[in-house]
Each structure stands twice: as structure tokens, then as C-alpha cells.
Symmetry: D2
Subunit: 310 residues, 4 copies
């Protein structure tokens, strides 16, 4: 088929490759999540359901993109580290950044009802993303340390803030009360006034969520550099996702969902589901990936995973 | 709170502004939609439900981003034109491109069940995006002409291809049959062998979908250049979405909306809903935007909408 | 010859194309020219020799790069406009910008002794450059208007400043005297106190230097888009330069060219020189290009040269 | 003075910072030097005068830009390494790349007559430049190894080629003779047929020129990161250059220079190699910088200069 005479406009699509052998971090960030969390009545200062949903969306990304070897999330943001030598999409910046944010968003909406079974999504949320390039492992470690330090700072503040608000202060008053306080002040306030030992709060809230592959085999494999643009997509997506869906629907007390499964069109899905039958709910896409809530600032985490910074 | 000593990694986030006064087109494209459409049993060569879903996702984008003044979609892709002088996100390339693809994806998954009520989504689909910059209105016209010419070329081919397949040819045979044929050949094949007058097929399939605002008032308004990064987000999002949600969930007993609204937490939503009360399901976000399936290559379309290429 | 195993480092040279069909302006700017002009005792507020040298360097650039269709200079800066459709170096930003600043610098040093025969260059001066991209002719007109307005503003200030200094004020006092004055004030000061009618000063100082090709034929030719990377270099360079050189050295007896050419090494030069025989000293590179000191802000200049903004 | 209404065109000058903490290499390359070397009758395969001129131009760059910590030259190209943490011009790509190529070019023309006292420059030569960014010291070592391997490959070829041509072959025949030969073949040809032991040829031709600072003090100083955009310019420029100028111009009987010139070719190199204590004209700008012709591929060079890859 002859190309049209308008084809020339393609020439305006300029190349945007990221330089070789540098680390790429894609960070996605919720747009308007203050309003979104209000509208959807997220619990404050932390809503475990919302954080779990973020984590499952991050896992979806890591399952699809094997070259994402580490992710860290807090609140409405998530950062994805691509291995240094990734050839994903020939390192095209837009392609990498947009594909990841799109899949993350998609998984967030797709899995919403599992985590919020009684709170239907009221409008489609969205995230933005950017790809940042770092030359060495030092910056990578500092990048994740930066995010985890931020998690701590925000969570301590929010915990104190909501304790005050729940105690009767207006948000304005609570802000004022906390103005000029440092970490120690806030810890003391929480402990003396509300009997809260900050360090005993769930690690998920204090440390954020770290996604890593349990089995470095897959990493080693991917370090072979044999992946091309065509094979980076995880061909297991359908299976994984279908099992995820199963998870939603088979779910111990799957309310109205079962009716849906009864619809004839779903026949082939059920059949396909067989192959992943033994996968437990929401562990389908957990397979290789685990979520940790531990310190990422000190050496231990990194020493145990030397493949992250190769 | 003092900033952490890791903060310096922010310096690696380099600016990526798009030059002023040039047109920006963000094109999103389905990733792996061949498999996705197979898995979800899309009708071939065109599945109206899937195209309608693409259109509603595009409308969601246009409702949120008033500076998107035109969109064109076909198959699993959509192109969004931002007005020449947009200040959206200070014209930051990543921010614009990623926010649009994320919202599009989100809306696609969010509205899926409305268009495929009996076919639950089996896994989260995703799209990539890129922002392309064009200096003048000539390239803009040619860009959209390029996409519509492409729609025609693909649809004619696919129509002939699936006619052959439905007639008993294997896909390999059908491909072979069509090899080397031109438009006239395919038209004749369709007509003589299958009695299909290609030009009588739905315009949606032959011309793609054009989204424009009905009322140029809003455009004129936005041409004032008074919008800043903070106010570009459409504050009507919640309303729109809440009415959309109602559409999904209350269907076919829309009274259910009230039940929902009866929950105390939903108070402000209910109040807000008043203003969009008369809007019927799925017309809420249609309000200002209309979808056309007409020629975008000739002058007529553009002459009627001079504000597009100012 | 086998490539070395180090060859991979080439992959770090990333593409930097400028988008098609947009105007490119390369602006070069003297580095440390305050000190340079002091060291070389430039006359203040304007040194005609220095400005003439800038102009000849600009002409050299335009002779070499036929796609440079307009240039504007003032003080120690020069702006070069490349025609909208230039294919020069495949529109690679670095290549275009660096080649122009290098040739300009080279010509500046090369021709120095002609304009400053008694003031040898004390150290090698340098310039920086940047390429700026503009989508339409409006910005191009405004760009050159901006530079000419700047010329006026600076020259009026400097004229008043040096009048005061020559009248006995220190530079600090002169600066203070002028603080807060507008154009009218400075004009009046010059006229009432020093009898200087600003508008009667040489146009070169007030308007800057505009380089254009006299004969638009060459433009029309270049608009054919037939030029490739290889043929953009002006093959006439050697001839032009050799005549220029002659000018330097043999001046004031231009017949001396032949004597010079008589040196055996110069054989092929002499032969080549024939074709430019009738060209007088320093008119060699003037051939197609003329330098104007006129208004570039109003329409007249542009209306007379429609090819500039095609 | 109020800014003009055209000022807005400045907004089209977009930022182009290079990411922090990555090595920057600026490589300049002669434009049309095949013709330039023919026109100026360079000796083949190597013209020591031309190489010395390249080296002095490189030194000028290193004297001006203290953050250039290493340079390597061969033929008509030179590569400049900026220290990893350079803040030069806030790491603006265009500014760095253009300033270096401009100063190099300027110095090349400025010093021409010293190296070619009897062969006046016939036209202004020019160079292009590009800035390439490398994340780690490994790529930096490989980059310079790449250039030195290239030097060897080219020089061996050219030496054999010109031996054949001087022996009576046409250039076409010589090319043909060498087609398909490897290094060993060429070495043998040179030795058996022309009695040339390639390894005994001057190291300058076989290894290229390496410029490094003798005294790492200046490096250590510059590693303090205290330099700002304003103070990166070497304030000693004028002095240095003026002493150079003295050499050229005041010296009617250029004392030391003549001595230097008296040695057939290598004299001044030898003397310079010994030490840089007795700095004579043209050694003024040698002060801190020395030129080596040694192996840069093996570890020794780098182990002796750990500050290069910090």
C-alpha cells in the first residue's frame, strides 16, 4: 500500500534515547490525590487498602517489565529502577516512561474493587511519570534513601497531625501546633499525649514498600542482555492477569462477582485459568516478587542484593 | 523539617520544556492490543464497543484538559492536539505526555464494564505515549490527514481480509489474496464477491473518531492564556465522574444513585451532583464534546473550526 | 580494518536533530569581550574597525553556509538565520552551532590584522554559540527586532555614558548620572550638553549590521532542497580566502597577489585564483552578500525580501 | 530602560543542562581538513608542525578551562575531558561545547604563523564539536583507548600508503595494495620493502598527543567544587597570551624560538619532556600542562593519575 503524502509528519517524531549504561528511575506520582483520597474516604494518616493497591500495581509493572529490578512506593507515588544495561524499547525515554505509568494506572483501576469492595471508584484517577537518569550506584542508593527518608518525614508528620485532629483540633490548628517541631518533638507528642510509640507503628507506614524479585535467577538471566524490544513484554501477562482476576472473583465470598462468571462468554477464560489454578489469590503476580517494609538506607539491603547495582 | 542529605538526587531531574507557540500532539497507542483484542474476543474487523470505549476515554482526557482542543482516534490509538499556546504544566514534555496517557488508560479501564458488561476485563491493558511538536498549522492538518488516511487504508484492508476469512480462507491465504492489491481492487473484491459497498460501511470505521468541543466559547476562554499549571485541571472532574459512575452502577435502576448519596460521607458529592442532574448517563462527559466521523482531510472541517489552528 | 573493542563508546553519542521546517537561529557571543576590548584598546563607545571585523567574519560564515540567509550583528554578538527547510548537517544541533561559531572565530582572528594593522592580537579571543528554534516567521521577525532594539538601547546608553566619561566623570559617576533616565532623557543630555544629535550618528552604531544576499537567485536555488550534507560546504572557500589573504598581505599593492602566487607551493592556488581575479580586496567575500545598517523592525525590510521567511 | 516587547523570543532558548556527576568529553574535529592540509601542503603522512599547532591550541583550551583535566589529539581532532563534577557554565551543553571549539579554533589560527612561518594561512579553517556524556570511569578509559587505537590504525595505514605513493604508486594503486591487509601485513610491508620499523617512528605519530597537568595540585583545587560560572575563565589568559604574542611579534630575532627551531624537529619536545622549569616563549602556556606521547590504553597511565577518574 502506497504511503500517503502526509507521511512526512512522522519526521517530526525525534529520537529520545537515554544514554547507555546509566541507571534509569521512572517515578510515577498521583495527580490530584488529595482530592481523590478525600473523595474515596481514605483512612488517615494511612489507608492500608490504598497502599496495598499501589503495591499490587507496582508488582504488575515488575511482572511485565523484567528489567525493572526494584521499586519503592509510599503514599501515591512509586519509583521503578531499571537495570543499568536495560535495552527496553531501545532506552527510548518516552516509551519507557509512558508504558510504565500507563500499566501502573491500569492495574490500579483494574484491582481497585479487590481492595475497596464496598467503595466503587468514583472517577478514573491518574498519575504522571518522569524518567530520571543516574550515572552510578551511589546516586541510586541515595535516590531510594531520599524517598524513604521522605516517607518517614511525611508519615511522622501525618501521624501527629491526624492524632491532633482526631483529638479535636481543626486542621489549621494541628498545622500550627506542629509548626517548627522536629522529629523528637513529634515523637514525644505522640507518646506523651496519645500513648503512641511511633516506632511500633506498622513498618509499611514508616518505611514504605520495597518490591524486589525474590529469586535473583531472573535477574541474572536478564543481565545477559539478550532481550530485545520485542521480547521484553512478559508473555505471561494474560495468565497472570487472568489469575488475578480469578483472585478477585473467586475470592472467598465473591458477592455478585460469581454471577458474572456464570456468563457464557467467560468460558474460555475459565479454561485458561486452569493452568494457574494452584496460584492463590493475589499471589499469582507475587510469584517472583516480594514486598518488604524495611530499611533501604543502610548497607544491609544493598549488600544482600548486589545485582541491583551492577 | 530539614531536608535530607539525599535531596541532591533531585538535581538529576533535568528540565524538558517544549518550545513555546508550537503545536503539541500527544499520541497514545495500545501496547499488545493484537493479543488484547483476541483475548477479549473483539469483533473483527471492527468492534464498536471497543471503539466507543476508546472514544469515551478520549473524552475524559478532553474534559480534564481543556487545552486539548481536538482528538482523533482509530483502532487502539488516539491523538490529542493541544492548543498552540498551551501553558499546561509549563509545557513540560514528560508531564504532559504521561498525564494524558495515564488518564486515558484509567478511563479505559474505568469504563470498560459499561461497554463490555458481560465480558470482564481479564488483565489491565496499557498504552504508550509520545509528544510530537509541530511548528505550523499546515503540519497539524497534515498530521490528522495522515492518521485518517491510515484509518482508511487499514480499515479497507481489514474489511477485505475478514471477509475472506469469514468466507473460509485461512489468515495466511487471506493475506496472500490481498497482496499487491490496491484500493480499487479491494473495493471491487468486497462488492463483487461479498456484495459489500465499502462506502456504505459505518463512517466510524472508515473515518475514525474526531472529538471536538461543540462550543468554541470554552476555546476562546482558554485562548486567554490565563490558565496556569494549577488551574488546568478540570475542577469538574469529580462531578463528571460521579455522574459517570452513577451510570455504571445504577444502571438500570438509576434511583440507586440516591442510595449511594445517602451515605453521609457522600454529602458534598450529592450537592455537587445537582448541577449535572439533567445529564443522562454517558452524556455527562459528552456535554461540551462531540464525536464526529467525517472527513478531516479536506478544508471544510478546518474552515468551520478556525480556532483549532490559531 | 577490524574495529577496536572500545568502539562501543560511540553509542554514547546521542542524536540531537532539530525538528524539520522550523527556523534556526545561531547566535554567537563574545566571551570576555569587555576585557578583550580594553586590552586591544577599542574605541568607545564604538570601534568601527572591530565592527567591520565582526561583519567580515559573519560574511565568511554566510559564504560558507549558503543556508544562512540572514545575519545580524552588534557589538560582540552575531545572529545567523538558517532557512526554514535547511538540511544542513541533517539539522544536527551541535554540528550546526559549533561549525558556525568555529568558522566565525577563525575568520575573526584570520582577518584581524587587516582591520588592526598596527595592533597585533594579544591573545586568541573566543565566542560561544547556541542554536535557538522558532516555529514561525513572526518569531523570526521579532527575534531580529529584539536584537536591533537591544542595539539601540545599548548604543544610546553607551554614547551618553562615554560622553560623560570623556567630559570628566568617572565611570561610576556616569553610571549614576544615567540611572533612571529614559531614551528621551539621554537624547536630550547628548544634544543639550554635548551637541550630539543621536540620530545623526552612524547608522552602523545605531542599527547594527544586517547581512543579506543581494541576489535572491542563490536563495531560490537553495530553496530547492537539493542540498545534502556533503554539498553545503561552499567550494569557493579557498578562492575567497586566498583573495582575502592577498588583501592582507599585499595591501596596498594588490598586484602583489601574483608575486605571492609565484611561490612554487602556491601553484594550484594561482590557478584557482584566476576565477576570482577581478574581485578586489575584501570584496571577494562581499560578492553575493551585502551589509546594511537599516531598520529591520518595520515591514519594509521584510517585504522586500519575502524569501527570508518562506 | 524598559525591555522591548520583542523580549519574549528569549523564551525559546531552552535549557540544555548535562546531568550532574557524569564525565563530559568534548571532541572537536577539523572540517574539510583533507582539502585544508592539501592547500597548506602538509607533509604526509604526518606534519609535525600541524600536530604541534593542534597541541598548542589544546593547551590553550586547558589553560583557559581548568576543569578540562585531560586532552587527547591526533590528526585534526582533539578530545577534552572535563572533570566529573565540573560546574562549568552550569554544565550547559551548548555553552561548554561551543566555547571550547571556539577557543581551540582561535588559538589554532592565532599560533599558525609560529609553526608555519613561511606558509601564511590561506583561509580560515574551522572545527566542529560535540559534547558526549559518560557515566563512569570505565567508559572514559575506553573512550581514550578508542581514540588511541584509532590513531594507531590510521597512522599505520597512512604510513604504508604514503610509502607506496612515494615509491611511485598512484593513490588508487596504494589503496588497492593495502586493501584487506592487517596490521602485521602492513608492518611487514614497511619493514621488508622500505626498511621502516614502524615501532621506531616518532611516538607522537603512533600514539597521538596526551595533555595533562603536571601538578595535580590544580586538580585538587578544582575538585573543591568552589568554582562558579563566573570564575572558570582563566584570568591569566591575557598574560599568557601576551607572552605568546611576544614570541610571535616582538621577537624580530626570536631568541629562544630560533634555538628551538634550529633543532630539526624534535628538539623542543625533548627539552620540554625533561621538565618545564625553564619556560621559554611558547612554553609560557605550557606551564602546568605537559604533552605526552605514550600508551593511554594500559593501566599505567591511569594509575599514575588517579585524579582523572575520581
Amino acid at each position: 500500500m502506497a504511503k500517503s503524502r502526509f507521511e512526512y509528519v512522522r519526521n517530526y517524531e525525534l529520537p529520545d534515547p537515554i544514554m547507555p549504561n546509566a541507571f534509569i528511575v521512572v517515578r510515577i506520582d498521583g495527580r490530584g490525590f488529595h482530592k481523590f483520597s478525600d473523595t474515596h474516604l481514605f483512612q488517615k494518616p494511612n489507608d492500608k487498602r490504598a497502599l496495598d493497591l499501589m503495591d499490587i500495581a507496582a508488582k504488575t509493572v515488575m511482572n511485565e517489565y523484567k528489567d525493572v529490578i526494584l521499586a519503592f512506593g509510599e503514599s501515591d507515588e512509586y519509583s521503578f529502577l531499571l537495570r543499568r544495561n536495560t535495552k527496553l524499547y531501545n532506552r527510548r525515554r518516552s516509551k519507557i516512561s509512558s508504558s510504565i505509568v500507563s500499566l501502573f494506572t491500569s492495574a490500579y483501576v483494574f484491582h481497585w474493587s479487590h481492595f475497596f469492595p464496598n467503595d466503587p471508584l468514583k472517577y478514573p484517577p491518574s498519575f504522571d511519570s518522569r524518567a530520571v537518569v543516574y550515572p552510578t550506584d551511589k546516586e541510586i542508593r541515595d535516590y531510594f534513601a531520599w524517598r524513604q527518608a521522605d516517607t518517614h518525614i511525611n508519615n511522622l508528620y501525618n501521624t501527629a497531625f491526624w492524632a491532633l485532629v482526631n483529638d479535636g483540633q481543626t486542621t489549621t490548628e494541628a498545622n500550627k501546633t506542629l509548626q517548627g517541631t522536629d522529629s523528637k518533638d513529634k515523637n514525644e507528642l505522640l507518646y506523651s499525649k496519645y500513648g503512641i510509640n511511633y516506632n511500633n507503628l506498622p513498618a509499611m507506614y514508616r518505611k514504605g514498600s520495597i518490591c524486589v524479585r525474590v529469586d535473583p535467577q531472573s535477574i541474572r538471566l536478564s543481565l545477559d542482555d539478550t532481550d530485545s524490544e520485542t521480547n521484553t513484554a512478559n508473555s505471561a501477562t494474560v495468565e497472570i492477569a487472568s489469575s488475578s482476576r480469578s483472585a478477585h472473583q473467586i475470592n472467598p465470598t465473591p458477592s455478585g462477582v460469581d454471577e458474572n462468571d456464570a456468563t457464557p462468554e467467560d468460558g474460555d477464560i475459565r479454561r485458561r485459568s486452569k493452568s494457574v489454578k494452584k496460584v492463590k489469590p493475589y499471589e499469582g503476580i507475587d510469584g517472583e516478587i516480594t514486598i518488604l517494609h524495611e530499611d533501604i538506607i543502610k548497607d544491609k539491603f544493598w549488600n544482600e542484593r548486589p545485582w541491583l547495582t551492577i
